[in-house]
Symmetry: C2
Subunit: 228 residues, 2 copies
């Protein structure tokens, strides 16, 4: 795949085009920082938007869930999908309501997903999702049984038609508003993990694995290390 791409009519950013990112690596970095997407599909014109976890490897996204779920049955029936990943980085406080904004990074992927049927492919995809969310965990946990694997639908969505959008930095006020005597700026927001909580059946002698102490994704800061 090329490093940059030509948007289609459906994915060209028309609103605030200067925030559009048509760079595959930049879009993938956003996908890799997130782990919950909002997956849309439509039945008889009615859209449904469902949050779900995902993983990325190469030019594919993977989602999974119960074989009985409406979402996955719909996708298996060939319904077009939209997968959107949004990371909120801050509130942008301008001097006018009109210029209030948020700092964010988002990616929208349009396409049609396909169910994986092959046992080894399904397992590999589940590992991709698991390792996307929490690198290291896959090596520790019990793998799916055949019955569990049958009850799980795993789907691949090629990242072909997509767009990304990024806003960062301070507010952009109109020239005539700059003279207003008012605080303007950014309130940074981040997802932060705090100390892992063992369940009742975890032995006191079993330390939390290194991959959760602390759990930090790319771009996250360590809990308690804030600048406040």
């Amino acid at each position: 795949m090329a490093d940059s791409f030509v948007p289609t009519a459906r994915t060209r950013i028309t609103r605030e085009p200067h925030r559009a990112v048509y760079d595959r690596a930049a879009a993938y970095a956003i996908l890799d920082d997130g782990f919950v997407c909002h997956l849309g599909f439509a039945i008889d014109g009615q859209p449904f938007v469902i949050p779900t976890s995902y993983g990325r490897r190469g030019d594919d996204l993977y989602v999974h869930g119960s074989s009985a779920s409406r979402m996955l049955r719909g996708l298996q029936a060939g319904l077009p999908a939209c997968v959107t990943v949004t990371l909120v980085d801050g509130l942008v406080l301008a001097r006018s309501i009109f210029n209030q904004s948020m700092n964010y990074r988002s990616v929208v992927v349009l396409g049609t997903a396909h169910a994986l049927e092959d046992r080894a492919q399904k397992l590999a995809a589940l590992e991709i999702v698991s390792e996307h969310i929490l690198p290291g965990r896959w090596a520790d946990v019990r793998r799916p049984s055949d019955i569990e694997l049958k009850a799980t639908t795993v789907m691949r969505l090629p990242i072909e038609e997509f767009s990304a959008k990024v806003r960062s930095g301070p507010p952009v006020d109109k020239e005539e508003d700059l003279g207003l005597d008012m605080w303007a700026g950014v309130v940074p927001l981040e997802m932060v993990a705090s100390a892992p909580l063992p369940d009742e059946r975890t032995s006191r002698d079993t330390p939390a694995p290194t991959y959760v102490r602390p759990y930090i994704r790319s771009g996250w800061r360590r809990d308690g290390a804030g600048s406040d």
Copy 2:
């Protein structure tokens, strides 16, 4: 409106029905904790899922944006919408991959939005959205001019057909997995605001307003006060 409601065939939770919340107050608490929704609409069967800010007052959601946006033009044309709000509260590490999960709270609202045409209604709705995101800011900033208001579409979506889903607490493992010698538990995740960053044009003599130091939404903890 009644405190509880009867789900429709489209909003009845079929997957993990024990996680369904059919209580209006509980759903509203989730909507009030969030401020970014994922709004879905479909054109010729192709869904689009766009992140956007929102506000709630009473039994209505409000969204706004540029009058030129594809999303708002589509909603104005009467396309059915789906608004989903998801708050991620933690990673749930079970002893098997099959039982891995997340703690989350989510609300899905189905319906048709209507544009507000009346100037006073539009202003009131913009205030609702602004105060939903950042209570206190509306009183400080410059209000929209007539030109800005004309360039802004504000829409109301009645919260009539909806569902909510909540998962909380430790992992739920199969009985036969409980004997596995493995750490299992929850990694709590939260959105945290850090110290506000004034822009270059904000005078050093202008303190950050009290509503951003610190910015804490209901259920958020104060930055730096983690249990780590």
